[in-house]
Amino acid sequence: MSSNVIPVPVGQTEARPWVDELHQWLTTVDHKRLGILYIASALLFLMIGGVEALIIRIQLMHSHNNFVSPEVFNRMFTMHGTTMIFFVAMPVLFGFANYLVPLMIGARDMAFPRLNAFSFWLSFLGGLLLYFSFLGGSGLYGAGNAPDVGWWSYAPLGARAFSPGHSSDYWTLALLVSGFGSIGTAINIIATILCLRCPGMKLNRMPLLVWMNLVMAGMVLLAITPLSAAQIMLLIDRYLGGHFFDTQAGGSAVLWMHFFWIFGHPEVYILIIPCFAFMSEIIPVFSRKPIFGYPVMVAATVCIAFVSMSVWAHHMFTIGMNSYANSFFTLTTMAVGVPTGIKIFNWIGTIWGGRIQFKTAMLFSIGFLFQFLIAGLTGIMMAASPFDWQLSLSYFVVAHFHYVIVGGILFALFGAFYYWYPKMTGRMLGERLGKWHFWLFLIGFHLTFDVMHIPGILGMPRRIYTYESGRGWDTLNFIISIGAFIQALAILVFVANLVISYFKGARAGNDPWDAWTLEWSISSPPPAYNFATVPTVASRRPLWDLKHPEDPDSRYE
């Protein structure tokens, strides 16, 4: 069950030894605290990954720059990518899932609280292991270094022959360890959703956030494991003399690519689907209407999950597959755009006819819609494999995926922060600072990532520590770097907001947004046991029914 400690409500502090408090946090099995731990650790790694990005952007500000050496640059982009995907995006989404799913289904905790804690600490340990490589990576000379093989560690670059020492092993082990943590969390999420829903909450009455986390968790089971398998094979190659990816012995570098992308593509859907979940909760509340097309949204999400398992080789259009394979993956990649587009239309349908409140959470959501649309369209461009033969491995694709991850995922996450921070802490995040955060970040984001498409079109490949002048890339890169600093400034404003509001923010009360799902029926922050009595629901918006007894949802759905 949940922890045996009732968190002291904000403002009523007794003198509490900080060691005691720390111990509570380190040994907690309460889903809410674990959720906050996940989020906090993700924010920490976000800062570190962000610094790595800034180092990259300073180096690329003009051609033939030597702010950092090529070795350091290559480590920076490797660590930046690995950190952001595995130690920022996944943990923060698991953190929100952990926090919200039990609350939204009327449960007292996750199905397996101790497994939950174990999974978090595995994930955190993975992050520490990755960064320990800066100290222990070389293994030969006593001076450490971090992995520099890119976040995909393509074979044979990841083999012993081309990556001596242990830097590559830290990459492998860190991901293996945190991968097991992810699988534990996924199992927990599925068991919780299938087994612990409160009475009346049939599957077709669950909030969309719950549905989407269920789908995401299912994908984690099937997508993370191929990476784990491939990494075990890599370790066998590196330490036991195996030949899985040893091209000199007849092994196949392409096989690594297939295994990696069978993980890699579903992984990005694993990252975006919880963000769809946030949008599906936030946009209705700030449009004052239910989500448009709930069953279609569920069906589209499930459809995306399935189809996304069949598109992976669109990351491999340049490796020389035959024309039939290229055509197949072109078709499936374009096809996955259909359910994704449907979701965008449904969100617009939700806004349509509503009464929009432009709170910061909604500003970020609107930004998400606009940017995710563009990101999806540049994805369709690259789905056309011949076009991808030019765009792949260039700054165009870097722009595309940052458009999804920063313009889509991060914007949705910011929305989620502004929306649920009051529930988690009992205080509202400042709207004024929030708007500064939004506009600064929007400007910085577009400055960087709109412009970044152009060097790609002009032939600039990715993962280069410097470039020739005279190719038209100089001014563009300079502008891109300026945008990066503006985004960094915006993040600082955000962090300031998080901290200041914790102490000085307006009290939130149970339900500051006049929302409709179960988490808003209890105090902010919730008591350790969540619900004094297990709720019973009769529709998709139980609080709407309570607030509008003359016109309950249960009459219509």
């Binding site: 397996f112 087994c195 190659d237 195996g242 030949h243 012995a249 619900f531 004094a532 629901v537």
Partner: protein, 198 residues
């Protein structure tokens, strides 16, 4: 507002949800199946591509006896769980120990085969592609058998101490699911390595 949603009439006549242990084990099995699938794919992909060294048809001997051992252990564990559900502890324990013995026998057979392959045919994990994929796949499976045996042994110890009864029946069933999974994987591995692969 301390609330809860007011109960609605007709809200939850029969609120019966699946139980979390079996759901969780099913999820674990799905995840593990994906890992095994990748190793099987690698094995199949590299069939016939080894340049030096022994090939499967040259060195592999079909382990019929040990396969029968492992597959029968599925039957014994199933019966053991059934007896436990009915409270017949003595039968449960006997069948449980038999399961462990059969599983242990299977591992012994694997060890014997590996010994033969290494010392008589010089096939190791680093010899060629076949060696790498064979030892990895069979080894991954043997690792899962070992993990299963450890868990079965722990239950056996508790059982001997009289602490396993009908109330633990559900947990035993969950563990038995894992063991059945391990056997099912062996059927696939056996087919791929000893039937298709030669």
């Amino acid at each position: 507002m301390s609330a809860t949603t007011a109960p609605f009439p007709n809200a939850a006549e029969n609120w019966d949800l699946p139980s979390r242990g079996k759901v969780a084990m099913a999820c674990l099995i799905i995840a593990e199946s994906a890992i095994f699938t990748i190793f099987v794919v690698a094995y199949l992909f590299y069939l016939g591509k080894s340049t030096p060294g022994p090939t499967p048809s040259q060195v592999l001997e079909t382990p019929i006896f040990y396969t029968i051992c492992l597959l029968s252990s599925s039957l014994t564990i199933h019966l053991a769980a059934k007896f436990l559900a009915r409270g017949i502890i003595f039968a449960f324990l006997g069948l449980w120990l038999l399961t462990i013995a059969l599983g242990g026998l299977f591992l012994f057979g694997t060890a014997m085969e590996w010994h033969r392959l290494i010392y008589e045919h010089g096939l190791t994990i680093s010899t060629n592609l076949f060696g790498t994929t064979y030892y990895s796949l069979v080894g991954l499976h043997a690792f899962h058998v070992t993990a299963g045996l450890i868990m079965l042994a722990i239950v056996a110890v508790f059982g001997r101490a009289g602490r396993v009864g009908m109330k633990q029946s559900y947990h035993i069933e969950v563990l038995a699911m894992y063991w059945h999974f391990v056997d099912a994987v062996w059927i696939v591995v056996f087919t791929v390595v000893y039937v298709l692969g030669r």
